[in-house]
Subunit: 106 residues, 2 copies
């Protein structure tokens, strides 16, 4: 039943890898594996809150137009309605635990 | 706006320290700091899902009567209605990122 998060790491050459780890009707937990230079463009969720928690590496995150650099052990919340995005501007892979509540509808 | 999770670590001699990191109407994110020998007794939330993610150390978690040992980098989901608890049976402090969705009502 437990999830070994680092066993799920997978870097993709063409774009950020978004790996679904687990979820319920109340939340979704993803792992983002971001190679140097890869990014997720700023975007908005109308009815979902998102939390980023950086597991490895560092990245430049945008939140409501402001930029923050986050590294291992740091977290950031993007509430519903607030534009957010990220970019790996460092030399190492950026691994992020990403919680979305409630889960996005498909 | 960012949260430096490890700056929030605080061990209490008498019981597990539950530190509120952040939250919205959709989720709550806590840091549990569990000294060796400390535990959270098995309990049930009727309408909240919980995710544990172990940041440091190792612990014995119970989920629906089964036991799992989790260490750094491992996660476990306790869905609403399922009994769950934990104990630090190791020699080192156990630090856990704990997500609850939606947040518990007070």
């Amino acid at each position: 039943m437990k999830i070994k998060v680092f066993d799920q790491v997978k870097l993709q050459p063409d774009k950020l890898a978004k790996i679904a780890l687990t979820g319920t009707e109340r939340f979704q937990l993803d792992l983002y594996c971001v190679a140097p230079g890869q990014a997720q463009k700023p975007h908005i969720h109308d009815a979902q809150d998102k939390v980023y928690y950086v597991l490895k590496g560092a990245g430049r995150f945008s939140l409501a137009g402001r930029e923050e650099t986050l590294k291992e052990g740091e977290a950031l919340v993007a509430p519903a309605g607030v534009e957010h995005g990220l970019e790996n501007v460092g030399p190492d892979p950026l691994l992020i635990l990403v919680l979305v509540a409630p889960p996005p509808k498909h």
